[in-house]
Amino acid sequence: MSTVAQQPPAGAEARAQLEERLERHWGERPSLRSWFTTVDHKRIGRRYVVTAAVYFTLAGVEASALRTQLARPGQRLLSAEEYDQLFTLHGTAMIFLFATPMLFGFGNFLVPLMLGARDMAFPRLNAFGYWIFLFAGLIMFSSLLAGDAPDGGWFAYVPLTTRPHSPGIGLDVYALGLLFFGVSTTAGAINFIATALKLRAPGMSLNRMPVFVWAIVATSFMVIFALPPLNLANGLLFLDRRFGTHFFDVGRGGDVLLWQHLFWLFGHPDVYIIVIPALGIVSAILPTFARRGIAAYPLIVLSLVAIAIVSFGVWVHHMFATGLPRLSLSFFSAASLLITIPSGIQIFAWLATMWLGRVVVGVPMLFVLGFLVTFVLGGFTGVMFGLVTFDQQVTDSYFVVAHFHYVLFGGAVFPIIAGLYYWLPKMTGRMFNERLGRWAFALVFGGMNLTFFPMHVSGMLGMPRRVYTYPAGLGWDAWNLLSTVGVFVLAAGLLLVLGGLLYAIRRGRPAPDDPWGGDTLEWVASSPPRPYNFPVIPRVRSLHPAWDGRTAASLAELDSFRTLEEGRRTPVTSELDGRYEWAAEMPEESIRPFVTAVGLLVVVIGLLFRWYWVAGLGGLLAAGTIAGWLWPPERTPEEAAAS
């Protein structure tokens, strides 16, 4: 239904020539080598999505094991050790190895397409980030196979996680693994910011940038400010554990609350680092299925930015029970309540969009509706946790487990599944089966609520979180059994999602370029997009370029500054107004990102097992490769003059 396809080509022959030339510069011949060297943001984005989905499945299997252990009081299916490792890895993997990379995967695939660019600003950095993410996940999960996974909970409070209380290698895996993973997230964030600010199609001023891209940019700024405290915390923890420093050793003047401050200064923004891109997905899908543009676009964008800023001022609400002074509690309580307002604005903007439009309930929209209902419930309990005394009563109980699963499953997983269905045609060129999708939604929605709603009750009834077993007779039995039943319904639903998507990829009908009638530029590209995304870079004149006849007209004009067929080039535009500035030469595929990532992996493994000379060699490999990577290319004087 693309408006482009209907346009008569401006000289079919010229167009074919253009595409052939672009193919020569951008095409990658499929080979084993290209598997390791690719810098195509679409391939990398798909890899992020697939890898994150694999880690999600593993972490989900862990969760099912945990719930099975808790089905009845006093079960002995899992030992305390196993239970502690499983719940720690479940949380750590879901937060770090699933949610953020999955959303970065969407970002990688979609941001250049939505902006009308041919790749990310730093394609090789992008490839590098993926490999680091893959390796960090492998390290984390392999520690479970070795029987010594981290077991300090995903926020790893000291002193439990210092060497005297956790002598194994598990917490070293945690600290080093997260430091290692942070490299990937930071690289990705820098890349998104540069791409969104400099590579927008001519005419796409900031106020015409899609909400999803705004969400990714807001998230990226948060990543850049939130990760340093986490990295610092993990660095200090590793120094304490390995080299006997005393940052967290109260006997020697250290402070255990330092860890909590550093961790939550990262940790609370991280909740929004996960939720904001998911809200961006909702703002991309919902208008398409309401058959009109999003209502209150400026307010939605301002809300995202406001959340990104205010979220750095609420971390202490994770520490309300630690005995801090009342004045600071009242400040952070106010901030924690305030931060719900931008979310409220978005909820009502979506409602208004649906009212003014005409809703079509396709499978992606079903998951968006599921998101609305569950995320709002998670928001209510979020407000409750902003109130100091209520927080002190139910924090660290199953009530908080229920709360953050409503926020993270409702607020992130539902939009992610919606996004998978919505962009599957674009990512793979295949359509999925609607009926299967509806069944999957029913099971996931029912299973999710059956799993997590009873936890509100068991928490209220006094059940603390992170217990590997509990006695009968405290009123907790039935609620736990319900949760466990729910987890299996949920698992069946998720399997149906997975099965439906895999079936679509293998057997699905070929997808048209624009199956839904979306308003953003990715629907102007073919399904799946060509390696260069757009033969002609569109000229953007409104917030809804794919619905704008002028966009289609601009695609028919073969302006040389928007075709850029001489070499691998994409236009660079001004930060605010999107005025054309110059054409950037984009790097070709390279093995260096992979080799650098392997070098860093060797460093991490060397540090982990105290093979410091191995770590040194890995460091040399990485540093040497980076030097070669950054070495200025040799150019003839004519080439230099031309660029």
Partner: protein, 366 residues
């Protein structure tokens, strides 16, 4: 409750969205088909069920909604306020979603317009007033929970968290016990909380919200039980392997009973009365037990494990790991690692002939 109703009414009174009929956006491809109607009423139903269940809970459950003291009662009030506001707002959102779905088959144009005024009023201004009100209530509750209500001279108790048990001391008399805090009903009890190792959290849902035990610091809280009774508490901060078995019992007694209990705990432990108990004491003092445990008035003065001067009267063995009866006690002594894996007490090589005497002696300490 009142506030929730007002909020719902105000939302419905919001000015209608500003709309202008304009250019039509292109319609979607043929793939989108209208579906049967979704009825997202499940969660509302669940909320109602939860409300019914929660308010009816009691008997045996350490429920935060079955408060037995002024601290927890205050929080219970806050919860119901928040609950009803949430129900109200949720009803608004569900109605909004339902309306959008109900209208989707209507004829006519898709409307343009940005609904900015509506979004600002419904999404920002109304929530701001509600949140401000709630915040005020929250601040009030916070002061109420910081300062215990006035009354009789408070009793002070020092509680120290260990992996994985609670050491309980009464500094006024020097009495020591474990995993059990006896308090006089109707009297405020000041608690000074510290930890010997990792972080723990002190939580008695029916009496008082949590306060963490922070290494290197002393945190203070208080509680008051209105009536005599037993109120279960449990460590709420993950503290390692046996976090699940770090429960305790607050036993509220009439003042006279409490005083008698405290006096018994202050003097020497009951002397063994039978021959078996006497042999048991001998085993206790001469075997490995005394290296870690104290029994007042005997040669056993170990300080690594819990004080056992009144162990026979305690509500459980191993901070909730097993019921306190002869069979479980024997099993615990022989090999507590099967009951509570990872706890600090190694399996004890007590000869089979001595074990019944040792059990008899420990059971007599009440």
């Amino acid at each position: 409750m009142l506030r929730a109703h007002r909020y719902v009414r105000l939302v419905f009174r919001a000015p209608p969205p500003v709309v202008t009929v304009g250019r039509r956006f292109p319609k979607g491809g043929g793939i989108l088909r209208a579906s049967r109607r979704v009825r997202p009423r499940y969660a509302a139903g669940a909320a109602v069920i939860a409300a019914t269940v929660l308010s009816g809970c009691g008997g045996g459950s350490p429920s935060a909604l079955d408060p037995a003291g002024p601290g927890a009662r205050r929080v219970e009030g806050l919860w119901w306020l928040l609950f009803w506001i949430s129900v109200g707002v949720f009803a608004v959102v569900l109605t909004g979603v339902g309306w959008a779905l109900a209208r989707r088959r209507r004829r006519g144009e898709v409307r343009r317009g940005d609904a900015t005024r509506f979004v600002v009023v419904a999404g920002a201004i109304l929530p701001f007033f509600v949140l401000t009100g709630v915040y005020g209530v929250g601040l009030d509750d916070m002061s109420a929970l910081t300062n215990p209500p006035a009354g009789a001279e408070p009793v002070t108790v020092d509680v120290t968290g260990h992996k994985w048990w609670w050491e309980v001391r009464y500094p006024a008399t020097g009495a020591v016990t474990a995993n059990e805090i006896h308090v006089p009903a109707g009297t405020t009890v000041r608690l000074r909380l510290r930890t010997a190792d990792v972080l723990h959290s002190f939580w008695v849902p029916q009496l008082m919200p949590k306060t963490d035990l922070i290494a290197g610091r002393i945190n203070e809280t208080w509680l008051r039980a209105d009536k005599p009774g037993r109120y279960r508490g449990q460590c709420a901060e993950y503290c390692g392997l046996q976090h699940a078995h770090m429960a305790f019992m607050v036993v509220a007694q009439p003042k006279a009973d409490f005083d008698a209990w405290l006096a018994r705990l202050t003097g020497p432990a009951p002397a063994p009365a039978t021959a078996a108990e006497r042999r048991g004491l001998q085993v206790f003092e001469q075997g490995t037990c005394a290296a870690c445990h104290t029994v007042r008035g005997t040669a056993a003065r170990g300080t690594v494990g819990p004080d056992l001067s009144m162990v026979g009267a305690r509500w459980s063995i191993g901070a909730g790991a097993a019921p306190n009866d002869a069979g479980h006690l024997g099993g615990w002594i022989a090999n507590s690692q099967t009951v509570k894996p990872g706890n600090a007490m190694p399996p004890q090589p007590v000869p089979a002939a001595d074990l019944p005497d040792l059990i008899a002696y420990l059971r007599s300490l009440r």
